[in-house]
């Protein structure tokens, strides 16, 4: 990347503006899509289709009173949202939006910066973003905030491991750590011959690395604290988790960071697994689709599709319990990723034509056998055993019997037969002294 300085500045500002606009759009988009899923209109008052709703909300939030708790550690309390937002925005700098284009006579890639190991920038930024959460909880000087921060940090760190292992498979396959180069590596098709039929599948990694793709998508939702993994905030259960003591612009910063992270993770997933800015059809159909500024359309279409997926999850799935969530992360995603990496390594050696036939058969066959064995001999879920002594209720759970005759409600009795109800209520008036409306 040898851009002139003015171009770097323009790109930096553009990335910032694009992210802020995307955040404003995503909040509106999320609310509208969830509303449609729940058969209600959603925000539709401010601006066309309610598009200015999130802008209005943001402005309102910024003008609210900024409360500093008496027990807060002032410097850290102010630094925490700054860290969260900075890390969220920095991570987007290595996402490629498109191929090389000509801007005012300068050939440049549609990407703020790219270098040998640029994917690691995103991972490092998400690792540092945890500091924002943890410090926010600690600096608030409140036990609720601290517990919320520990929950959030444990969640993000756990899912970061699964996320990193999923990304490792991409490094493995492409032997590259640069976002731009990974996108270009996916442009080559995947030749496939079934009998006499010769196909060229898109070389996007979500096909070859399907398990990694699935793990990445799950881990990405956990990493960005989104439903069904939104345990740190859990609107309906907790107050606001680590952000309990925050107000005004600082509170808004955490949500800005969360939405920016959502966009970044979607963009990273598109870059690593869905061909980045490449058009979603063969090159031969429309060769100009992958040149100039056209790929911006494909890139943002893919990112928006992912954001829709996020919203879809939120509208569909109930929140997990914390222990179930941790079990999924540590006991399912991490071991599956590790086994899959080993299998991938063995298959790569086995499919490499440069090796001898025996080696190839041994590695490819060995990998296949290991996977089969794991699937067959994996201990199945514990079956339900009929209890020795039958329970009173349905299927062992003590529930009321189906033929339960519910006694008529006293209020209904009173309305129907006032005289009889008065007599009945006089009898138990001694027990029910709290009922004051009678007589």
């Amino acid at each position: 990347m040898n851009d002139p300085i003015w171009l770097m500045l323009v790109k930096g500002v553009l990335v910032f503006v694009v992210l802020v606009l995307l955040v404003l759009f995503t909040i509106w988009y999320e609310r509208r899509v969830v509303a449609i899923m729940q058969v209600r209109p959603g925000p539709n008052r401010n601006g066309p289709f309610g598009l200015l709703q999130s802008l209005a909300d943001g402005l309102k939030l910024a003008f609210k009173e900024d409360v500093m708790p008496r027990t807060a550690d002032k410097v850290v309390f102010i630094a925490a949202p700054v860290i969260a937002v900075t890390c969220a925005f920095t991570a987007f700098s290595v996402i490629p939006f498109g191929p090389e284009v000509n801007v005012f006579g300068v050939e440049t890639a549609l990407q703020l910066t790219d270098f040998e190991v640029s994917v690691l920038v995103i991972l490092a930024c998400s690792a540092l973003g945890v500091y924002g959460i943890v410090l926010a909880g600690w600096a608030s000087g409140s036990a609720y905030s601290l517990l919320g921060a520990l929950r959030a940090a444990a969640q993000v760190i756990s899912y970061e491991i699964a996320l990193g292992l999923a990304v490792l498979a991409v490094f493995f396959q492409s032997q590259l750590l640069s976002t731009g180069a990974i996108v270009e590596a996916q442009a080559e098709g995947l030749p496939l011959t079934i009998g006499s039929l010769e196909l060229t599948l898109p070389g996007w990694y979500f096909i070859i690395l399907a398990p990694s793709f699935v793990i990445f998508v799950i881990a990405m939702v956990g990493e960005t604290n989104r439903a069904p993994f939104d345990l740190p905030e859990a609107e309906s259960e907790l107050v606001a988790g680590f952000a309990t003591e925050y107000s005004s612009l600082k509170y808004a910063s955490f949500f800005l960071a969360e939405y920016v992270n959502m966009v970044t993770m979607s963009a990273l997933c598109v870059t690593l697994f869905l061909g980045g800015w490449a058009a979603p059809f063969p090159d031969a159909w429309w060769p100009a689709a992958n040149e100039g500024f056209m790929p911006l359309i494909w890139f943002f279409a893919k990112v928006l599709a992912f954001l829709f997926f996020y919203v879809w999850l939120r509208g569909t799935l109930p929140r997990l319990r914390y222990d179930q969530f941790m079990r999924l992360g540590w006991k399912v995603l991490v071991p599956v990723s590790l086994v899959w990496l080993m299998v991938l390594a063995a298959m790569n050696i086995g499919l490499d034509a440069g090796n001898g036939l025996t080696t190839r058969i041994a590695f490819a066959g060995g990998a296949a056998i290991v996977v089969m064995a794991l699937i067959f001999f994996w201990p199945s879920r514990k079956q339900y055993e009929e209890p020795a002594e039958p329970d009173a209720g349905m299927g062992g759970f003590p529930v009321p019997p189906l033929d339960l005759a519910v006694p008529p409600s006293p209020r209904a009795l009173k309305e129907l037969q006032p005289a009889r109800a008065a007599a009945a209520s006089d009898e138990d008036a001694a027990a029910a002294t709290s009922e004051k409306g009678e007589a």
Partner: protein, 259 residues
Amino acid sequence: MIDLAQTVAADASFGEALFFWILAPIALGGAVGLVLARSAIHAALMLAITMMCLAVFYIMQSAPFLGFVQIMVYTGAIMMLFLFVLMLFGRDSKDSMFETLRGQRFLAVLLGIGLAALLASGLARAVSGLTVAADPAWATGAQTNVEAIAEALFSTYLFPFEIVSGVLTVAAVGALMFAHVAKKGGHRGQKEHSRERFAPGVYPGPKPGPGVFANSDSTATPALLPDGTIEPESLSDYVPPRQLTAAEAAPKHTEGRDL
């Protein structure tokens, strides 16, 4: 024969020098702050700042992989674990400045200066007079930074690397063993909890608050269950129970009603 320090100084571009002079004081400030900070969390944050500055130095010296791994592993994972532990201590725990041993502070400063001088002179002797090796493969572009590290790690230094990972695994498993407490009576699932809750003699609903269904609002008055019996859990351990006489417990007809 070129001196290493001179080569580095001569090769440094303007940008590199600029960033060095900006970040070096910050890194040093973080290190000093680590020692001087009274609160453990502040000390840990100062250390994190120093680590970040070091990572940027690695990146400036064309070792981007090492730099980002430093951020991810040291700042992101290890310092975070430190923070976790420190936070659970409580935020009011601060270093005590009381000198328990007489003259300890003076001796500590003296020995600290001595150690610093020893280290500095040793390092200076070790570094001065070093020659720059012929361009290694990664410097000429024949091998990327990541490949060079991988080759060193998985060929030359494979054995130490494996030993270190083994030691770390043993340490982690050992910590788990120490911290693990076996649950008594095995795991109770949702079914067992449900049975227990609905067992005969147990009221399954939420417990009423103190004074509910009672004639008095004193905290010494026990709560009554819907069937009129006293809810034992509403009796405070500290407030002596007040036994009402039959006359006291009888309704006072305060609402002007006759039975």
